[in-house]
Amino acid sequence: MSFFDKLKNLASSELEEDKSIVMRQMDIVFEEAVSKAEAFEKLGRKEDAVRKFREAASKLSDILKTSSKNYIYVLKVGELYMKLGYTKDKIFFQAAEPYYRMIIDNFGHDPDADLTMTYWRLGILEERIRNNQEKALAYYDLAIRAPKGRKITDYQKKYDLSAVYLSLAILYSATNEPLSKQNAQKRLAIETDCPQALAIINGYNWEAAPTNFDAMISSDDDKNIFLNEKLGDKLIVLCGPKRTIKVRADMLSVMFITAKKSSWQGGNKLYDANGRILKFPGRAVSIDKENAAKLSASLKQQLLRIDNSDPVMNTFKDTILFFGEGSFQIRPER
């Protein structure tokens, strides 16, 4: 009998001692696999990360089939599928949804449960899966009103709420500017350097932001630039005055298209004639802080596609901050 078979047997036990063994083991499986997957992500190795997430999701959901008595493990499996949705394929969002629903159904009155987090996720899933903003708003509202779970620290509650405020700020930006700004302000009270919230506060018109990048491509030069968007996970190294960062070529490319189209970025030619990886031999480029915020705001569609918990978003945010630090050199990763 394998270790996981033993664990599955224990999971169906009614004994408190057995339950506690299962909980501890699930903690270990979750932490080890997810931390390792996140380590792969940090190193830019997406496929390895996805493999680890899948492995953990499959093991944990298997155990949950026999025991779903503790909401935290249901939440963990949901989170794993959310993670797969962001890193691999949005089809995994659909796999995540039942776990959050299970929390509401089975643990809605559990004084320990983190319902803010759960409702926030359900709101995101409504936007992602069904594009149902009305229902998403209802979930965000529930998330804000949800009581603090007994085991949730003030610290965690605060940051759970900050995530909901950002989702609301972005969602309202199309229909209700004052409400959008109000939520952005709440977000900024917790996350002072959030570029999206800053852009909303600065009054950037999200509706006027470019949404169709294909339509923006007119000249051959533009076409070449656009081709770079298809480079996917290729990493580009940016050497700035303070630090060196790595950014995915497609993300950088999308940012440059917007920057160039909006005349925010100096220089005439950003890419080589064949549309290959960004080549700037000895050339420095920069986008100032103000324009970096505009740039982030202009990428509304990108932001909607990838919300704040997406690793790509993390890189994106960091890249914008980096742009504001001064001129930098670009070189392909060795």
Partner: protein
């Protein structure tokens, strides 16, 4: 939860941290408070030993943990790139005899930091603390585990460690009979075995040229001859010798420096004489077959070495 974790990982830079300082670490919505217990600085990296003060049980953030980051220095960029290469190799190595890389964090200054379990001590401390010679049974036990870890890294990923020495073999803090290989800083990836994992193997294969710790480097390696696993087998032999005798086979009074003694093969004559005094002749033969200056006379693979060790 994941979002929180990423946001909070951008913690304070480690470079200004001193022994005794409190370090907050944020992980999945929970704040863990650690006190810096010890700081160990090596050639390229710094390891911080932390002891938990507050925060619930967690599989990664246990009572004692170690954080490793690259050393801030004039050659910062190179160190950071080398550290990233180390992380790329280390992250795939999941074996009971390899110190696991639990997590990678990024500080506010974008320094990558590896989180690993705390280990009580190394084989070096075992050698130093032992007043009498360490028994051959324990030596074999250490080496079998090291070979198992190296064999896994080589078979699965074609990775050579290239810096096996007593300092880099650590004792597990829970079970002191378990030994784990650490520090893959100058390790080398021989093939494109990891290509499918989106890993730039060519970049890693360039790592460090002939870096290493001189007394544990074989003559062929110092002379630039390619010998794959033979390099690590030699280092293992040297380490085993040191565990048994409490010293390496380089006499101070030879009038030659260590490099000359290795390249000239003098060490082998000295070692052979000493090994005649070892009661366990099989173990003595294993060591000789590891550290023979002639690569052709050395073990050609870990399997053969492990087989002999089992009978030693």
């Amino acid at each position: 939860m994941f979002e929180l974790q990423k946001r909070r990982m951008r913690d304070k830079s480690l470079s200004n941290i001193r022994q005794g300082d409190l370090v907050p670490i944020h992980h999945r919505g929970i704040e863990y408070s650690y006190r810096v217990f010890d700081i160990k600085s090596g050639g390229m990296g710094t390891v911080y030993i932390l002891e938990k003060q507050t925060g619930e049980w967690n599989a990664v953030f246990q009572q004692m943990i170690a954080l490793k980051t690259y050393k801030q220095s004039f050659s910062n960029m190179m160190n950071s790139e080398m550290f990233e290469k180390e992380l790329n190799i280390w992250v795939v190595l999941e074996h009971p005899n390899i110190l696991p890389l639990r997590k990678i964090m990024a500080t506010s200054e974008n320094e990558l930091t590896a989180v690993m379990p705390f280990c009580e001590g190394s084989v070096r401390s075992l050698i130093s603390e032992s007043r009498s010679k360490i028994n051959s049974k324990l030596s074999v036990q250490v080496l079998k585990q090291v070979i198992a870890g190296l064999d896994f890294a080589y078979k699965e990923y074609q990775i050579l460690h290239l810096d096996i020495k007593p300092e880099n073999v650590l004792m597990d803090s829970i079970n002191s009979e378990v030994y784990r290989i650490s520090d893959w800083g100058i390790s080398k990836l021989l093939s494109s075995a990891m290509e499918s994992t989106q890993f730039d193997s060519n970049a890693v294969a360039e790592t460090c040229g002939n870096a290493g710790t001189l007394p544990y480097m074989s003559p062929d390696r110092l002379l630039g001859v390619n010998n794959n696993t033979g390099f690590d087998i030699y280092s293992c032999g040297m380490m085993l010798y040191e565990i048994l005798f409490g010293r390496l086979p380089f006499p101070n009074n030879s009038g030659k420096n260590v490099f000359a003694q290795i390249v000239g093969g003098d060490y082998f004559e000295n070692a052979s004489q000493e090994l005649r005094k070892v009661g366990n002749t099989r173990l003595a033969a294993v060591i000789k077959n590891c550290i023979n200056p002639d690569p052709a006379q050395r073990y050609t693979g870990y399997g053969e070495l492990l087989g002999d060790l089992l009978h030693a």
